[in-house]
């Protein structure tokens, strides 16, 4: 499968970029993979090529960072008939409960609105770590493992 991996975080040393690196490793084993870090890469036309897209970003204010919002607005125009699979790998500073209270607008954007512009069969997996600021090293490790497992089964 042709897989596009889109990632963004301002800091090279971030947990987000570690997750993106793990995703590259896992997806690269089985798929034709194209990795785009939108902080440094503004290539266009990639979405028309992709059969699957994996998004890796930190959730801030219950939604993707400003940079990814702008990228989506500029690039994700659709419809993308080839695109049948999506997955989001994201981290949240606040808890699952607070995110429910805040209304999860980012989750709705990524798992409902974007798939509606792809192939009608397209579904988006939501792979999320909550309460990251209070997460132990063990909980982070288990999250990395679950990311690897879910992406291996994409």
């Amino acid at each position: 499968m042709k897989v596009l991996l889109v990632s963004t975080h301002p800091c090279e040393e971030s947990f987000n970029n570690y997750l993106a690196a793990r995703a590259v490793e896992v997806l690269g084993r089985r798929h034709d993979l194209l990795y785009v870090d939108i902080n440094h890469d503004s290539r266009d036309g990639l979405l028309a090529w992709a059969e699957a897209v994996v998004w890796v970003y930190p959730t801030w204010w219950s939604s993707p960072p400003a940079r990814l919002l702008e990228w989506l607005y500029d690039h994700f125009t659709g419809p993308y008939d080839r695109l049948t699979k999506m997955a989001v790998v994201t981290t949240h500073g606040s808890s699952w409960r607070v995110n429910k209270l805040a209304g999860e607008v980012g989750r709705r954007l990524m798992t409902k609105r974007l798939p509606s512009l792809a192939n009608p069969t397209c579904r988006c997996r939501w792979i999320a770590l909550y309460d990251i600021d209070r997460a132990t090293a063990d909980r982070r490790t288990r999250f990395v493992e679950s990311v690897e497992k879910e992406l291996a089964a994409l």
Binding site: P10, E12, W61, A66
Partner: protein, 192 residues
């Protein structure tokens, strides 16, 4: 030093261009009845929406605001009794300029604080009204409304009046309808 001060209102304008400027001024004119009002025009100020590596690294320190301009914006928000956001929605959500303002200005110690268990606690203590004036070309403003009136609202500890003014399909409506909408906004904000 002034002994009697009016409560202050901040109108954050996050879409450049004449019509949104008109809407921000209409909101400010309405608010002026009760508040000392400031319009912050993010595009005109040259606000950089994307967080730099340095800014992100500072975020969880005791001194998260590196840029003196951002520090000024933070002071405006903390002092504000009324917050209004004027913008054109992007993908149903707030535009990157406003999202960047939330990310960079509303850092720990500004909109929220952490308690000893590192749980988030609301910190916009003065705010008693929260409003959005949003236009959209095709995908509505629902996500933006949820983000601001539910998500941002969680950072206000007290009671708050909420207002949402939406003008949909701005590409298809007449000049007259646009002006009418601005009047609705002005009157609505005056009656807050």
């Amino acid at each position: 030093m002034r002994l009697v001060t009016q409560p202050s209102a901040l109108v954050v304008l996050a879409t450049p261009g004449g019509y949104h400027r008109q809407l921000a001024e209409a909101a400010a004119a309405g608010l002026a009845a009760r508040y000392e009002t400031t319009v912050l025009d993010l595009a005109a100020e040259g606000f950089q929406a994307f967080m730099s590596p340095e800014e992100r690294r500072a975020y969880h320190t005791n001194d998260p605001l590196l840029d003196p301009i951002v520090e000024d914006y933070a002071r405006q928000v903390v002092e504000a009794h009324s917050l209004t956001f004027v913008f054109e929605a992007y993908l149903g959500l707030v535009p990157p300029l406003l999202k960047g303002w939330l990310e960079k200005v509303l850092a720990p110690g500004v909109a929220f604080v952490f308690d000893q268990n590192h749980r988030v606690r609301p910190n916009l203590r003065n705010v008693d009204s929260l409003a959005g004036v949003a236009t959209s070309t095709q995908q509505g403003t629902k996500g933006a409304k949820t983000l601001l009136l539910r998500g941002l609202r969680l950072n206000i500890p007290g009671r708050v009046k909420k207002r949402w003014y939406e003008l949909a399909q701005t590409t298809e409506i007449s000049e007259k309808e646009r002006d009418e909408f601005a009047v609705i906004v002005r009157r609505g904000m005056a009656a807050l």
